[in-house]
């Protein structure tokens, strides 16, 4: 059983009468990589700023390491932040930026030297001590920002979309490095992003948020394979969301056909949303339970994205096997590929 580092309960926050966080309940374990994932304006950054201490909640409590956080100003919290645009001090060089927090703690000069040197090694920026911040590339600035935060040995590191400004290749590299760093340091990370791939790649736990409400908390695999509602299914990867009716446990009807499934616990004849991932559908030329016509096909690199019209509805299918527009096809999938969710009002 892992110990809880942060516990958030009933957190509510409004700006100018707009509720950006509504009754948030969440806990973060020690040594856990948690990602807050959601579209812009979903409240994820506000939640991060509340933990950092830059905002104060209207209601609710955050405890950190057994203490109520509201009583501590940001400079007294064993929490450090990597800011979205890095917020490096332009009047200080790389060394002075990284040493800033340690100087505030009145650490002896030799110890500061040692710490800065070792953290520069960690972020692979040895020899950059005397460089002016303005002469660094985006990726290097980002590493300095991380170094400046982790050198203080916080128990919790908050990262506010730190990879947003980097190009794709560098971003993927940094995703891997951040995850490695979190393992090496043995501290908890709270990572804010709107990039679902980033969230799935790095996290131990993903917190999906929308409209100030937590939609789902789970491991990347849970979130992807068992989305709890229409929002999560749509936001994480591409999905086909279909209206269906649950007839009884393990039996669902959609597109006028009965299917075996692996879900249970719904009311009899309850209206549900069905999610089938594009890569779980197989297309065959012969007739089957669901039949349609290929409407469009796009080459995506690894796979083709094929749009099939079934009863005037679009289905997205990812397949390595190309089809021609106008081909009559049938859709096939296994019972475990059918994900049944409680109907959302959308």
């Amino acid at each position: 059983m892992r110990t809880k580092l942060v516990e958030i309960s009933g957190l509510t926050k409004s700006f100018d009468d707009v509720e950006v966080l509504k009754d948030i309940h969440l806990y973060i374990n020690e040594n856990e990589f948690v990602t807050l994932l959601g579209p812009s304006g979903c409240g994820k950054t506000t939640l991060l700023r509340l933990i950092a201490g830059f905002e104060y909640a209207d209601a609710g409590v955050i405890t950190f390491d057994g203490r109520v956080l509201e009583e501590l100003p940001p400079n007294k919290r064993a929490i450090n932040t990597v800011f979205q645009k890095y917020a490096l001090f332009p009047h200080l060089n790389v060394y002075e930026n990284i040493a800033f927090g340690l100087k505030m703690k009145k650490m002896p000069k030799e110890d500061i030297n040692k710490e800065v040197t070792s953290v520069l090694k960690l972020v692979k920026l040895e020899g950059f001590e005397g460089r002016n911040i303005k002469t660094l590339s985006g990726g290097q600035q980002q590493r300095v920002a991380i170094a400046r935060a982790v050198v203080n040995k916080p128990k919790l590191l908050l990262l506010d979309e730190p990879l947003g400004a980097l190009d794709l290749k560098l971003r993927q590299e940094m995703q891997y490095e951040l995850k490695e760093m979190q393992r090496a340091l043995g501290i908890s990370f709270v990572f804010v992003t709107h990039d679902q791939e980033e969230a799935l790649t790095m996290s131990d736990t993903v917190v999906v948020m929308n409209d100030g409400i937590i939609q789902q908390i789970g491991t990347p695999i849970d979130i992807y394979n068992e989305p709890e509602n229409r929002f999560t299914a749509n936001f994480i990867g591409e999905s086909n969301i279909i209206d269906g009716v649950m007839h009884k446990d393990f039996l669902v009807e959609f597109e006028g056909v009965m299917f075996e499934c692996v879900d249970e616990g719904f009311d009899q004849l309850e209206n549900v949303d069905i999610v089938i991932r594009p890569e779980d559908i197989e297309l065959k030329i012969d007739a089957g339970k669901i039949n349609g016509v290929v409407d469009a096909i796009t080459f995506k690199g690894v796979h083709y994205e094929i749009i099939v019209m079934v009863n005037d509805k679009e289905y997205i299918i990812h397949s390595t096997d190309p089809k021609e527009v106008g081909d009559k096809v049938s859709l096939h999938f296994e019972p475990e590929d059918i994900h049944v969710m409680v109907k959302s009002n959308a």
């Binding site: 830059f54 940001p74 450090n80 932040t81 800011f83 917020a87 009047h91 927090g101 505030m104 703690k105």
Partner: protein, 271 residues
């Protein structure tokens, strides 16, 4: 580059005709016997330098340096907190408040000086409230006058640099364990240095060269270097002496600015 030259032409003409040529003329006047009655052949003379050793001139120069540095310091001490407060306001009334600060500059300066003068006399409208200031002729009167004239010029550059400052830098500083005071000293102040330099220059320059203000508010008791130069040119018609003192004043100002600019590593200010 060529296009740039054409659009800078009006400014170049302006600078040459109204700044460079007059400055060269003053320089020429200061070391020659040329004057209104002698615009023909001239010879170089050294008498001008003797003007600089006169006790009256030295006293006036000292007064000017002392009072303008003091006025600049007072303007900074009032202007910085004001600019900081205004820059951190979150209300929509910000623009209105800034306008209120600039508003005095829109009225004639001489008029404002005379307004202060009438208040500083022993007999003024303030007698109505049982107050008699009787400040004319004191350093306090001149300092109040200078501060009220030049405070907006100190506040505005500070405001603009503080307003543009990335607020996340302040948050980053606190995040790294700095208290409010440490954040101000280690982050806010160093980053607003360019505004400080601008403000100091904008305040120091007019204070050093002021002559109407000390004339009205000192009652003739405190002479500033501006008054001396005015006297040389307008009253005693000692054009060469006046020119020499003007050059000396210019040198003093340049030295003061070099000290100020020394602190401005970024070079983001006016000069």
């Amino acid at each position: 580059m060529r296009r740039l030259r054409i659009i800078t032409l009006p400014y170049l003409v302006w600078m040459v005709v109204l700044v460079l040529v007059p400055t060269l003329l003053i320089l020429l006047l200061s070391v020659t016997n040329l004057d209104i009655y002698n615009i023909g052949p001239f010879s170089f003379v050294t008498e001008g330098f003797e003007e600089l050793t006169k006790p009256l001139v030295i006293t006036a120069m000292k007064n000017s340096v002392r009072l303008s540095l003091l006025a600049t310091l007072i303007c900074f001490l009032i202007g910085y907190p004001t600019a900081y407060f205004l820059a951190n306001l979150k209300t929509s009334k910000k623009t209105m408040l800034i306008t209120l600060f600039i508003l005095p500059v829109w009225s004639n300066m001489l008029l404002r000086i005379i307004a202060w003068e009438t208040l500083f006399f022993p007999n003024s409208i303030l007698n109505m409230f049982g107050i008699s200031l009787n400040l004319i002729g004191t350093d306090v009167a001149i300092l109040i006058g200078m501060t009220s004239m030049y405070l907006p010029f100190m506040t505005l550059p500070l405001y603009s640099v503080l307003e543009k400052m990335d607020h996340s830098l302040i948050e980053a500083s606190k995040d790294l364990g700095a208290s409010n005071m440490q954040t101000f000293l280690k982050v806010t102040l160093p980053l607003s240095l360019s505004g400080v330099v601008s403000g100091v220059i904008m305040t120091l320059l007019p204070s050093m060269t002021a002559f109407a203000l000390p004339e009205r508010l000192s009652g003739g008791k405190t002479l500033l270097i501006g008054n001396i130069i005015e006297d040389y040119f307008m009253k005693t018609s000692n054009i060469n002496g006046g020119a020499m003192i003007s050059i000396a004043l210019m040198v003093v100002i340049i030295v003061l600015f070099m000290v100020v600019v020394h602190f401005d590593k970024e070079g983001e200010t006016l000069i």
